[in-house]
Symmetry: C2
Subunit: 367 residues, 2 copies
């Protein structure tokens, strides 16, 4: 795998941090059901795995099934396994007379009601530990930052190659998306962080456009929003470039977005809210008269999920802290004509300016 | 896109079939929250979209947000849209004094409790419509079968190319996985149905092995489990081949699995249960003394999800019907030595034998 040379994750230390919720809430167990949270706390990556976290680390259990027994043994050798296709039943057996916390946003309504009924039968109390593991995931540790940086480096270098060395004129959006995604893999990525957005001409007015067979034409804006994934960590990076000569308004719009991003970046610091970062970027766009054409929030956290905390949208009260990773990506979208978005991934590193994990030049590039 | 030449989906007809649940349950609305069910009923593919199905088709609404407004307008022009970041609030506003059914397995426990509390405030009754859309999805219509067949054809042709024209000796599992997945895209796939399993030597004993840097060696078994995705429809296809000369037991094990699959295929017919198909395949493996080494169910339904109904596992009471698509994929796994799995995707077409959408030769191939 591509990650052998990187610092290993310290999953046991992360579990110990999560364990604090048990004392806080006078509970005996936490059942972690979200696959990304399970990966964060154990390293296990199969599609069926739950972590039953106990007050005593020696009682922690990974609940999976036979298909994943060998993978679990190799990826989390320090965890005892329970192989059972009924994880809720296994949990109630492993934690009798317990006070059990669950991730209410990561169990279905049906599972929650089922668990409640079965727990009552065996005298287990069930409580909600919403967002506990997500909160731990906000600030990235060194092992995580190394992977995020690797994903971002591959993304930036590949995008630079695409813009510099690939003839994009007369290529279709779909061809460019495929070319880019293959190059991520060639460069050592484990996959793509999300389906690439390649939006040209009027399609660039659609923030989440799916690549089509439309071919690039002179006068187009071209927005590419893409990212590599390395060992589960996601990069997120967008540039809008011009294909040949651009009309004056679109050129001016690009400059507005560039200044909006700069204002957003300048606002990022430990102690600031996501809403303040959003407001700083949004003000520039509103002042230029394009407020209604900025259709989304200024950014979002990024890590094991492409979208995670902290929220960097309008009115977000989430407080940024050193070590958090987030995007700053204002945009302006003009239906029928095109759009501009400029996006980079940063790590909060006060009092210094945020560390840019992607740093492609932000001035308008003409291909 | 690759699908322009294929028969279009008749989403309105599917919605009318789903609407029958409202009369059956004396309800006024059904809120469809599972993204795959939303795609099935509307064609919408964004990450945020819910369908509010009403008793009168003219009152059907797609609930999404600004980012997806243009995509929704082009992919489901026949549906009015509500743009709202709070779909539960939008639902309660659009359906006041209603009797609302929801997909309890596709809302989180937290969302379900939130909805119940807010519905009570406005006098809306909430009921559970578990599995209603999934039941409609079981039998595939012609538009779906065309896409499944296209995905399977690409998969089979690409796998044949890999086995026939690519030198696999001394290549790593990971290299082969990447080579295969790129070739899917070159052949017109929209993506891969799931991360390919390429498992060699002792790794072939792990049913859901992730490709590693292990290089293929003479005497290895090599299992490749892969599929292309076309317009949302998934292929699922596995072959185990020999790298050079194989020891006698592994050769014999391959033949047992081949006969088990033949028995499973022969059992597939309208009116038969998934459990009966599983039992037919399992009996051959048990009779050969390897019952404990068959670690999973014999198969599963396949369509817009790689795993969906009908269940074709041990004891499954799901009744097969003409038009259902399913895999038959018995396997034997010998820890430390290797394993064999043979898998094809079929459509139930009684009284004829099931139609094989993948049909790579099933005899042991030696590379």
């Amino acid at each position: 795998m591509t990650t052998q040379h990187r610092a290993p994750h310290d999953h046991a230390a992360r579990r110990d941090r999560a364990r604090a919720v048990l004392a806080d809430r006078a509970a005996t167990h936490l059942l972690v059901t979200d696959p990304v949270n399970v990966r964060y706390l154990t390293g296990f990556t199969g599609s069926n795995g739950q972590l039953l976290l106990a007050a005593d680390a020696a009682d922690d259990r990974l609940i999976t099934d036979h298909r994943y027994d060998e993978r679990a043994a190799s990826s989390c050798p320090d965890l005892e396994r329970i192989l059972d296709r009924d994880p809720l039943g296994a949990t109630l057996s492993a934690a009798p007379s317990a006070s059990l916390l669950v991730e209410a946003e990561h169990l279905s309504w049906q599972q929650g009601r089922d668990l409640t009924a079965r727990a009552e039968d065996v005298g287990v109390r069930v409580g909600d530990a919403k967002g506990v593991v997500e909160a731990l995931r906000l600030c990235k540790d060194d092992a995580e930052l190394a992977r995020l940086a690797a994903a971002c480096r591959i993304t930036q270098e590949t995008l630079a190659w695409l813009f510099d060395d690939v003839v994009v004129h007369d290529r279709s959006e779909r061809e460019l998306a495929i070319t880019l995604e293959r190059a991520f893999i060639d460069a050592g990525a484990d996959g793509v962080a999300f389906p690439s957005i390649v939006a040209s001409g009027p399609n660039a007015a659609i923030p989440h456009h799916e690549p089509t067979d439309r071919r690039l034409q002179p006068g187009d804006l071209l927005t590419i929003d893409c990212g590599a994934e390395v060992d589960g960590y996601h990069a997120d990076h967008t540039r809008t470039v011009a294909i040949g000569h651009l009309d004056d308004e679109l050129t001016a719009v690009h400059e507005v977005v560039r200044q909006a991003q700069a204002a957003g970046i300048a606002a990022v610091a430990d102690g600031v809210t996501g809403g303040q970062v959003d407001a700083a970027a949004r003000q520039v766009i509103t002042d230029a008269g394009y407020g209604a054409a900025f259709l989304h929030g200024t950014g979002h956290g990024v890590g094991l999920r492409i979208h995670e905390g902290p929220s960097v949208g309008r009115g977000s009260a989430a407080t940024l802290r050193d070590g958090m990773a987030l995007t700053v990506e204002p945009g302006i979208y003009l239906p029928g004509r095109g759009g501009v978005r400029i996006e980079d991934t940063f790590v909060v590193t006060s009092p210094a300016p945020p560390r840019a994990l992607t740093d492609t030049p932000r001035e308008l590039q003409v291909l």
